[in-house]
């Protein structure tokens, strides 16, 4: 049993969490590039929750169950049909959702900079302590949103989180996956941003009781144009095409390497400048 004082202490230490949720093409489907238009056609394709965002949602729900988070809120930028994905997140256990409505295509028209500005606005306005994002979105593959947010706000961030632990003293320790091994980082202050890797957890299946409860949870809908941020994309994608098929590898004699380099116009790194 916990005394009232313990409960107050726990409540004072509890953090508010913001989770990034992206509505994108289903992970199992193959992207079709229309060669004539030079564009990706997503009409009629099954859309669902970005798998890395799903991992972030699962982590938020687990920490809420463990008593670390007082409340969890999900933030989605997408069209009206993104409501399905938000319901999946709510059914998994998120408390409430914010839906930024826009008719622009979220994979090509909304840059990471815009997304970061939206997150910055809400982190400052609603005073969130922790922001959990997926490390990458599987449609645009930008992998930079969490880094940009931290740069804008000047707050600590950790990407590719393999394990997250919330200590009693208020510090957060994160294990990051890098090419050289696991790196452990400790955040001493909140707010902080963590982006999640695939080995962080295995997201749960959506329970039917959870879906029923999700119907009564609040989704706050705001138009992207109504937010006090600059929502213009500072670049434009002109065309999209599929990768060329890889050339078959071939064995080459050492003496013929010079000709090959000239033929394929590869700049040798070690060319002498004299």
């Amino acid at each position: 049993t916990q005394s009232t004082w313990d409960i107050i202490q726990i409540r004072m230490r509890q953090l508010k969490c913001l989770v990034g949720v992206k509505h994108c093409l289903d992970n199992a489907l193959r992207v079709r590039v229309d060669k004539a238009k030079g564009w990706v056609d997503l009409t009629g394709c099954k859309m669902s929750l970005n798998p890395y965002c799903e991992i972030a949602v699962e982590e938020a729900v687990r920490q809420k169950a463990a008593g670390v988070f007082s409340s969890t809120t999900s933030l989605t930028i997408g069209g009206p049909d993104a409501v399905e994905t938000i319901r999946t997140a709510l059914a998994m256990g998120i408390d409430q959702a914010i839906h930024i409505v826009t008719n622009r295509a979220t994979d090509v028209d909304i840059s990471s900079l815009i997304v970061a500005r939206v997150f910055k606005h809400f982190i400052q306005a609603n005073k969130f302590d922790v922001a959990l994002l997926g490390k990458i979105a599987i449609d645009d593959n930008n992998e930079q949103t969490s880094q940009i947010i931290s740069g804008m706000l000047g707050i600590p961030f950790a990407t590719n989180a393999n394990k997250i632990a919330f200590e009693k003293e208020g510090t957060i320790s994160v294990c990051r996956e890098t090419d050289e091994g696991i790196e452990k980082i400790q955040f001493l202050t909140t707010p902080a941003i963590i982006s999640c890797e695939s080995r962080l957890n295995v997201p749960r299946f959506v329970n039917i009781m959870g879906l029923k409860r999700a119907k009564s949870k609040k989704i706050e809908t705001i138009k992207l144009e109504d937010l006090p941020i600059d929502h213009h994309c500072n670049y434009k994608i002109t065309s999209i095409k599929e990768h060329e098929k890889k050339r078959a590898s071939q064995r080459v004699e050492l003496s013929k390497i010079g000709e090959l380099i000239k033929e394929h116009m590869i700049q040798p790194i070690f060319a002498s400048t004299t």
Binding site: K46, S48, K212
Partner: protein, 547 residues
């Protein structure tokens, strides 16, 4: 004891007069039928002449072994010659020659048959269709797809999906099974409750008879009432009437959205109520309704780590998989399934809804990999039976008490079609005595119980070789005699899939004679009884006199 048996078997196998004998746990001793010739070198030379190309005629043991492997490893074949033709004309030439030379043949597909219908029993020639894997066309108006018999089911499904159609058949073995084999066995599959049987969905067929004649009804229309519908003979005949070379199958338009849920249920009566409710609410939009019990679920969780089972820690006595189709947005489809589940909430303990393709694959994987999980646990005895929905699960607890601690019994299947797969598995493959004990406890008890309840002893797997001698338990003598009349008309030399589908061996004749003689009370000598086996073309005067 064992050593003596093995020596005896070696001697019997070597006896040239008999041509070999094999001992099967389910059939006892079976002798090679002496009316078939053995494959000689001049036969192989002839085949090489009529099948041009490399690797079309295989005779080396290393290459031929793959075509002799049977799925359950209990009835591996002994074929020495494998032919891989590429067209119906080549098969026609092969069969004409084999008919004249009296060489037995076995048309073969993906070797996924669970009743040893795909492999040879003795040294029959295997005709494998794997090189005939062309898909000709899919008409966007009628949805009829024309393809060769060697097309793998998964390839046909992908081809249809890309063009906005759905192939009416879907099995767990779709990665290796071929269309020809599916047609030969009249495979049912997971979506049988929506699309029905292959008898209804096959519009045209091209098959080669035993004498080499090609029966071509491939360019058929949906409606064609001219004469007897010959293609229905070949569907479900398991290769005994002719080799199927091409087929025209009706495909259905692809639904816009599909919803899938996995439920945990307490009692089998709840499954029955959910089944009635689902058929009423969804009608033809109900594309699959399956059930499994806790034993099957446990084995999948234990042996198939690549599949993530829906409930990690919770366990229920029964589980159901329900899939629905909808022509509308995904949200509507999910909402409909959700409202149905809520209306049945007093029957359901827990449930999950699939939200994306990966989760759907995991849920289907839990159902489709049960067969593999049982085989990984140990030596498995499979019974695929059709029963009335009320008696659907009755046999499983009966078998559990009968078998006791010796084996694990699991039941799963297509509750929407009334077809349950009962699997009994002994731990591991080394314990031969335990396996044979369990086998004696099961056969023929299980099949006789099914016959008592007027069920089918083989709902969708077919009869093949493993269940040939139990055919009388599901079909009357008159039916079997008529089937034999058709078989003799189309294949008088009996070269197509011998030893399969029809009962054979001394046990059946013995039992039949026993039954008739106990009724007649006539004493008769053992020589007279043995004569029944060898002089089959004569009629017994005793039975004639007393009718």
């Amino acid at each position: 004891g064992d050593v003596y048996k093995r020596q005896m078997l070696r001697v019997l196998k070597a006896l040239p007069r008999l041509g070999g004998m094999r001992r099967f746990s389910s059939h006892g001793f079976l002798a090679r039928d002496s009316r078939f010739s053995a494959v000689e070198q001049y036969d192989v030379n002839y085949f090489k002449k009529i099948l041009p190309g490399s690797d079309t005629v295989l005779t080396e043991a290393l290459k031929v072994n793959k075509y002799n492997e049977e799925y359950t490893h209990k009835h591996n074949g002994l074929s020495k010659c494998v032919l891989r033709p590429q067209s119906a004309t080549e098969i026609s030439n092969i069969l004409a020659y084999c008919n004249q030379r009296k060489l037995a043949v076995v048309p073969q597909g993906g070797r996924t048959s669970l009743v040893a219908g795909a492999t040879s029993v003795f040294d029959e020639i295997v005709i494998n269709m794997e090189r005939m894997n062309k898909i000709y066309e899919l008409s966007p108006y009628t949805g009829i797809i024309k393809l060769q018999a060697g097309v793998i089911l998964e390839e046909a499904e992908k081809y249809c999906n890309e063009r906005g159609f759905v192939f009416p058949l879907d099995l767990g073995a779709k990665g290796s099974c071929q269309i020809g084999g599916n047609l030969g066995a009249n495979a049912g599959g997971l979506h049988f409750v929506k699309y029905g049987s292959l008898h209804g969905n096959t519009i045209g067929l091209r098959a080669v008879l035993a004498n080499g004649q090609i029966l071509d009804t491939l360019d058929a229309h949906r409606k064609d009432n001219t004469g007897y519908d010959l293609k229905q003979l070949f569907i479900g005949a398991e290769g005994t009437l002719g080799a199927i070379t091409d087929a025209a199958i009706l495909c259905y338009p692809k639904p816009q959205s599909v919803s899938l849920c996995f439920l945990g249920v307490d009692h089998f009566d709840s499954i029955k109520s959910i089944l009635i409710g689902a058929k009423k609410k969804f009608g033809e939009n109900l594309s699959a309704i399956e059930m499994m019990d806790d034993q099957s679920y446990e084995l999948v969780q234990k042996h198939i780590p690549s599949t993530r089972v829906p409930f990690e820690k919770d366990r229920f006595p029964f589980y159901m998989v329900i899939e629905t189709h909808h022509n509308g947005p995904q949200a509507e489809s999910d909402e409909k399934l959700l409202s149905f589940v809520e209306s049945m909430s007093k029957h359901i303990q827990n449930g999950i809804l699939s939200r994306d393709e990966t989760q759907a694959k995991q849920i289907w994987g839990t159902r489709e990999k049960i067969a593999d999980a049982f085989v990984k646990e140990g030596m498995t005895f499979k019974y695929d039976v059709s029963l009335k929905t009320d008696e659907f699960y009755e046999l499983v607890p009966i078998l559990r008490t009968r078998v006791g601690d010796k084996a694990k019994v699991g039941g799963y299947g297509h509750v929407g079609d009334g077809n349950i797969h009962i699997n009994v598995t002994v731990n591991g493959y080394e314990n031969d005595t335990l396996s044979s004990e369990v086998h004696k406890l099961l056969e023929p008890y299980v099949l006789e119980e099914v016959a008592k309840r007027k069920g089918s002893i083989s709902a969708e797997h077919g009869v093949g070789f493993a269940k040939a001698q139990y055919l009388m338990l599901s079909k009357s003598d008159e039916c079997i005699d008529t089937m034999l009349a058709i078989k003799n008309a189309l294949d008088p030399n009996g070269i197509m899939c011998p030893y399969k589908v029809f009962p054979h061996g001394r046990r059946i004749i013995w039992k039949k004679i026993q039954l008739s003689l106990t009724k007649l009370q006539i004493p008769v000598s053992y020589t007279h009884l043995r004569a029944h086996e060898t002089l089959r073309y004569l009629v017994c005067r005793l039975l004639l006199e007393k009718k």
